[in-house]
């Protein structure tokens, strides 16, 4: 038996080993609002930056990510049809505002309660988030307490209107999750809010 078949066999085995390696594909899609984010794919051997809708990079085994290429929308929709079909609907968000220093809703926000009740029924929501937020004036303690009381008031109003969702995540985020970022001590009425998220 000559050396040639052995060499061929070795090449064949090496081919299988290389081929059996992991492969990952990453494809950047536009956000729901049409804007496009950025994705960086990093391996030990290199980096690929995706910043255009439909760009894809492939990592095979421990290789560097391939140079990004554009994949057509049809190809994406075909290849990923099943996972795209089960994407949860984006949560619906409602912002409720209050009279200053109190747990009474402004009359405009009171009208929103019915909309929230309808949204819960329409999407058969199984989880609600009710989060009190404050601006950055007043002490942290006062803000946390008031925004918690406001969140509780909203929960009670929704339950009085027949909302029956078991998983209610109720919390006061205080100043930590502002709608409009400001410096400390700045009064920003748009940040004094209760956010209701219907999931």
């Amino acid at each position: 038996m000559g050396a040639a078949p052995l060499v061929l066999f070795a090449v064949f085995v090496a081919g299988i080993l290389l081929d059996s390696g992991q492969q990952s594909e990453v494809v950047l899609l536009p956000d729901a609002d049409g804007s496009v984010g950025k994705v960086e794919v990093v391996t030990e051997k290199g980096v690929a930056l995706l910043e255009e809708a439909g760009q894809m990079t492939v990592v095979s085994g421990a290789s560097a990510p391939s140079a990004p290429v554009i994949v057509s929308r049809e190809d994406i929709e075909q290849k990923y049809a099943q996972v795209l079909a089960v994407e949860p609907e984006a949560p619906a968000r409602f912002l409720l505002y209050f009279e200053q220093g109190s747990t009474n809703l402004t009359s405009a926000s009171e009208g929103l309660l019915t909309q929230i009740v309808n949204e819960v029924a329409e999407r058969n929501a199984n989880s609600l988030g009710i989060y009190g937020h404050s601006d950055r004036t007043g002490s942290d303690e006062y803000n946390l307490r008031l925004s918690l009381q406001r969140a509780e008031a909203v929960r009670d109003l929704l339950q009085e209107r027949g909302v029956d969702v078991k998983a209610i995540d109720l919390d006061s985020h205080g100043e930590g999750n502002p709608l409009i970022p400001t410096a400390d001590g700045v009064a920003e009425p748009r940040n004094r809010r209760v956010e209701v998220i219907v999931r």
Binding site: V59, Y80, A90
Partner: protein, 144 residues
């Protein structure tokens, strides 16, 4: 001494309880899927709660979409495995962390509030790469 033991017991249960907190729920499901939690298999249905360290697995006929507390959504196609390695969403303390490991299959990841407030605290991992995201929608496919 007995009191110390009692106190330790209470602390132990408190720690277990906080570890078992729900970090999200299953929102959509077709076919069948389960979660592997502390060595046990729990079948999933719509509305089922999810916890840190859960390994979410879809069967050959299954696909599902889940939503985490910060409104991040992750969808899994058939024959897929996702490990929820870490999740911290505490805007009050300005503490955020999310580590998701895509072990195999197809995934659609859509950023939530952590992606907006602290994108650097998000890590998406595949067996051979890490993916850093800046507020976006990404498809990922991992094949063996």
């Amino acid at each position: 001494m007995r009191y110390v033991f009692g106190l330790l017991l209470v602390l132990f249960f408190a720690a277990t309880l906080s570890a078992a907190q729900s970090i999200g729920t299953v929102k959509t499901l077709t076919g069948s899927a389960f979660v592997e939690r502390q060595g046990e298999v729990v079948e999933l249905e719509v509305g089922a709660p999810l916890q840190v360290a859960d390994r979410v697995v879809t069967r050959a006929d299954g696909s599902l979409g889940l939503i985490l507390q910060d409104d991040t959504t992750v969808s899994l196609g058939p024959d897929s495995e996702l490990l929820l390695r870490a999740f911290v969403f505490e805007p009050k303390q300005n503490r955020f962390s999310m580590i998701l490991k895509m072990l195999k299959g197809t995934f659609l990841y859509v950023s939530g509030v952590i992606g907006k407030l602290a994108p650097d605290s998000i890590e998406l991992e595949t067996p051979d790469s890490t993916i850093a995201v800046r507020g976006t929608r990404v498809l990922i496919k991992v094949s063996n």
